[in-house]
């Protein structure tokens, strides 16, 4: 059998023989099972009035909800920027030759990874109980902690500083993943350590750093819901404000959940294209774009392939 013409699941060899491909009945059973369960779920969602879809539709674009989304997105962005910036600093500190600098960074990571972020948020929120008068040791500087630490600042400090601990580990893993020969070649060409880090090491480390950072962003988006406990009116707290008045608990939780899913899905797409960008030069062929993937899937997995007469 030399040249084989493949058409759907029937192939014809060059010598005229018809090659019938193997059938997969178990795959059909599994597919039907999943489809049946999904159908049941849809039926229940459509017929159970307690889902309150009319209420969901009513409040879906409520101004309180939209404002909440704004705060959720803003908080996610600010906390990730704080976390990433501080994370890079901590990662470089952990790779320092100075043992005390290394220990300080490890201690920071150990502390912030070792305590629940909810506890940290409550600590920052109640900072006034610990330091009523903030002076930073500067004579003449007296800041009233009660008015300085707003719920929003407590949220940024709690989530941002906690995120820095995780980001530093991600950045460190990225940096050490780059082959030593790279910084050596860069040094031999006369680049300084800083230039080497910025132009040679970090751009290559990005390939390792981006995927887990995307997960961190999505994680952060959801973690911002924790700050509802310190009365920051983000997405979850905004829905809570509404259902505390009209008692439509489930519909409003659904509104919040649907929005979270929409935003995380958009973030996921962004992450995919960012990964493609930083993978340049490292793959012989870039991974296919989403559209191309769908087309490939349809071409190779077509479950309802129609058998056609073999072509000659």
């Amino acid at each position: 059998m030399s040249a084989v013409t493949v058409r759907k699941n029937v192939a014809v060899a060059a010598d005229g023989y018809v090659v019938v491909q193997h059938r997969h009945p178990a795959r059909w059973v599994a597919a039907l099972l999943v489809a049946a369960l999904f159908g049941l779920l849809l039926y229940s969602m459509a017929t159970n009035p307690r889902f309150g879809w009319d209420q969901v539709a009513l409040y879906f674009r409520d101004t309180t909800i939209i404002d909440g989304i704004g705060i959720t997105l803003g908080l996610t962005a600010v906390c990730m920027v704080v976390g990433a910036a501080l994370g890079v600093v901590l990662a470089v500190m952990r790779l320092s030759v100075n043992p005390l600098v290394r220990a300080a960074a490890s201690g920071y990571v150990g502390f912030f990874r070792g305590t629940p972020v909810l506890v940290q948020l409550l600590f920052w929120f109640n900072l006034a109980a610990l330091y009523p008068d903030i002076t930073f040791g500067i004579p003449g500087l007296h800041l009233d902690a009660n008015s300085l630490i707003t719920p929003m600042l407590a949220a940024v400090l709690g989530l941002g500083l906690n995120e820095a601990a995780y980001m530093s580990e991600i950045v460190r893993a990225g940096i050490v993943s780059v082959d030593d020969g790279q910084s050596e070649a860069s040094a031999a060409l006369g680049l300084t350590r800083m230039q080497t880090m910025l132009k040679v090491t970090l751009p290559q480390a990005m390939r390792v750093i981006i995927p887990p950072t995307g997960n961190e962003v999505i994680g952060m988006l959801k973690t911002t819901s924790l700050v509802s406990v310190i009365a920051v009116p983000e997405l979850l707290y905004s829905s809570q404000i509404i259902y505390s008045k009209n008692f439509q608990v489930i519909p409003l939780l659904l509104v919040a959940s649907i929005w979270y899913i929409i935003i995380t899905t958009i973030f996921g797409m962004g992450q995919y294209y960012l990964e493609r960008h930083f993978a340049r030069g490292s793959h012989r062929n870039l991974p296919p774009s989403t559209l191309a993937k769908v087309l490939i899937l349809l071409r190779t997995h077509a479950p309802l392939a129609v058998r056609k007469a073999p072509m000659q």
């Binding site: 070649a185 060409l189 290559q204």
Partner: protein, 268 residues
């Protein structure tokens, strides 16, 4: 012999300025002494091949020359500059990182595993160091980079990523990248050891061409044919010491030392 045809071999004795001068260079890793006192002078325009078994210290010595390794004893000079240190009175002051970087920019180095920057295209690989270390704008250094790529036979790969090139092509880009800094001295650390046999020839051809142009070269190599044809001097190292050195016809053709004979018998 090819060496006879080369006009640049005799260094001007009036100048008497060696390109590289090593006096009693020692290097240890912990208690393991890798270099046990290396004395070597390389004249401008000279091509010196360092040969010897792995572990003999030849790569380490090469890396000491541009201060990728700090030496533990002895002195090293490139022209009139001491490598890594400044003498003030009776003290050796470590040079600052910026000074070391500035001096490294004058020495090109080619590695066994090429170490091209995989996230940059071929031309970007060539232009990065001139921009960062010499402050030359890409417009300024680009014509030079293009002509170097033509010389190594890769003018059509300007915008390719290293990953898309064969090993031999990558190594030729690495040579062009080092030359784009317009170095006075080129160090080659086993430049053909990681290549498939059929790709070695192209890289050696580029190195021959470079030697013929008068570049001072120190080459750690296992290519005895290259050493025989191109080197002005072959230096045999064993156990962190120089055992024997001289013109290739003598060291390779009529080795005096028993260890040199044993090594040459093993590589043939």
């Amino acid at each position: 012999m090819n060496t006879m045809e080369k006009p640049h071999v005799a260094a001007d004795p009036a100048k008497n300025q060696a390109m590289v001068r090593a006096v009693g260079v020692r290097k240890s890793y912990g208690s393991n002494e890798v270099l046990k006192g290396i004395d070597l002078e390389v004249q401008p325009g000279e091509v010196v091949c360092l040969i010897g078994a792995s572990g003999s210290g030849k790569s380490t010595f090469l890396r000491c020359i541009n201060h990728l390794e700090k030496i533990n004893g002895g002195r090293l000079w490139i022209e009139d500059q001491m490598v890594g240190y400044t003498v003030k009175g009776h003290k050796l002051h470590e040079k600052t990182h910026a000074e070391i970087c500035r001096e490294r920019a004058n020495t090109g180095m080619v590695f066994q595993h090429f170490n091209l920057f995989p996230h940059l295209t071929v031309i970007e690989n060539l232009l990065l160091a001139p921009k960062m270390a010499l402050g030359q704008s890409p417009e300024q250094s680009r014509p030079r980079a293009i002509s170097l790529l033509e010389q190594v036979g890769l003018a059509d790969k300007v915008n390719a990523y290293p990953r898309h090139l064969s090993g031999g092509q990558q190594q030729r880009v690495a040579i062009a990248r080092a030359l784009c800094m317009q170095p006075k001295l080129m160090l080659f650390d086993e430049p053909t050891s990681a290549l498939d046999p059929e790709l070695v020839g192209d890289v050696l051809a580029v190195m021959r061409q470079l030697a013929a142009s008068g570049m001072t070269m120190i080459v750690v190599t296992h290519e005895m044919g290259f050493a025989r044809d191109v080197a002005d001097r072959v230096v045999f190292m064993h156990g962190g010491r120089i055992i024997e050195q001289g013109p290739p016809s003598e060291v390779l053709g009529n080795p005096q030392h028993e260890r040199t004979r044993a090594f040459l018998a093993s590589v043939r």
